[in-house]
Amino acid sequence: MRNSFLQITKGIFVFTLLVGMISACQSDGKKSSKTEEEKLVESASQPIDQQMMEDFNKSKLIFYSLPSPLETAMLIKRSGARYDEEILNPISNVTKYNTNLKMALNLGIYSADLSYTSLFDQTQSTIQYMACAKKMAEGLSIIDAIDETTIKKLEDNMNNRDAVMEIISETFMNSNAYLKENDRPTISVMVLVGGWVEGLYLASSLTNGSMENNKRLVDRIIYQKLSLITVMNLLESHSNNEDIQYLHGKMSELKSIFEQVKIVNTSKVESETDATNKVTTIKADSETHMSEEVFNNLLKKVKEIRSEFVS
């Protein structure tokens, strides 16, 4: 009797474990509730072919792709912004972080900083910031994402920006993948949020508080309103975690300011495909508006949140 009870218990345990593991493989972006984007898609009046819509209504997997630290650094560089070492999270701060939340946020933050330094060919700083990212990754027990070989590869390619970007992108993917695939998606979300906030902080600091100095950069900041929707959805899909709830609160504060920023498509979105060169151009006119007051509030809020993250 006791034997069969034990066997049943064991069976249930193993079955639960198996189901848990299989779902963990695919649960990174699972739909848990209707997101703002889903509502947008569902509320659209234009019919799309029925079969495809039915398929996607059954869809179980969603990826929320935030601009990565590398993409954000590229956007900053291409807007004509300069390099300013003073605004980075000091490397001396690296010893301060000892909770999962702080280590994850600062893995994202140091990844953004090292992307920024690399795009401006600040090779020594890139190596130092990679070492900081490595320390954070080690603290989070992310195995093999950044190791001594990575640092050595960086040192060997110091004068080759393309190779340096390649190394940075690889380490970011390694950390991201390791966390997602080892059933730690919440830590992965914290890293992404840390990196995104740092990108926003760098961009907003580089405006020097003026909307006129670099209009392209201000434009990039305005459009982060769209990425913030993705950030919120990403956080909402893991909302049962306390640290995620804290981040959701912070991002909601930012959202209430971004809600006063207007982005409007003034024409229909159309596309033009060049099949020979395999490229599609999406054409749409859009207008944006942000008042001086909202801009200042946004800068202040970003600074406040970022200070909290790096403290």
């Binding site: 193993v14 493989c25 997997l61 929320y64 769209l226 599609t280 999406i282 006119d285 859009s286």
Partner: protein
């Protein structure tokens, strides 16, 4: 009795360890799949570093939300394990306008996109299920990677 309980417990723990290793190995294959099969398709575009890969089967779907920034050229590279049918993907805007459909281009898996004004767009993808899948449980890694065009090098005088 105590000995038998201990041996059962260690059996369970060993099974747990096996499952954990098995599951990690399966997943790790998706990372190495994305690196070895997906990334080279980006060619001279810089991979943005985001990892979008998972295990899907025939007929299953996924969606990816991404902000495309103006004046950047993006390359999307979809990859799947050989035994899976083709992947059908569409790029749509918030009003459900289909901006690109790879069905019209022989289910091509690599395409470039550029936007004139920054837009949040959705990539909807489906592993086709019109294949003769003998056992009906064909599943495997798929990856969706994005590359960004590098800055053109300025000529030095």
């Amino acid at each position: 009795m105590k000995h038998r309980l201990n041996s059962r417990l260690s059996g369970i723990l060993m099974f747990f360890a096996f499952l954990l290793t098995f599951s990690t190995c399966l997943n790790a294959q998706c990372l190495s799949f994305a690196k070895k099969i997906g990334k080279p398709k980006l060619e001279n575009f810089v991979h943005d570093g985001n990892y979008n890969a998972t295990i899907l089967g025939a007929g299953e779907t996924a969606e990816l939300y991404k902000t495309f920034f103006a004046n950047q050229k993006y390359r999307i590279a979809l990859s799947k394990i050989e035994s899976l049918p083709n992947i059908h993907f569409r790029l749509i805007d918030e009003d459900n306008n289909i901006l690109f459909d790879n069905k019209n281009h022989g289910f091509v898996d690599v395409w470039d996109f550029q936007v004139e004004s920054t837009q949040m767009l959705v990539i909807k993808l489906k592993v086709l299920d019109d294949y003769n899948d003998s056992n009906g449980d064909n599943k495997g890694c798929i990856s969706v990677l994005f590359g960004i065009e590098k800055e053109k090098k300025k000529k030095r005088n």
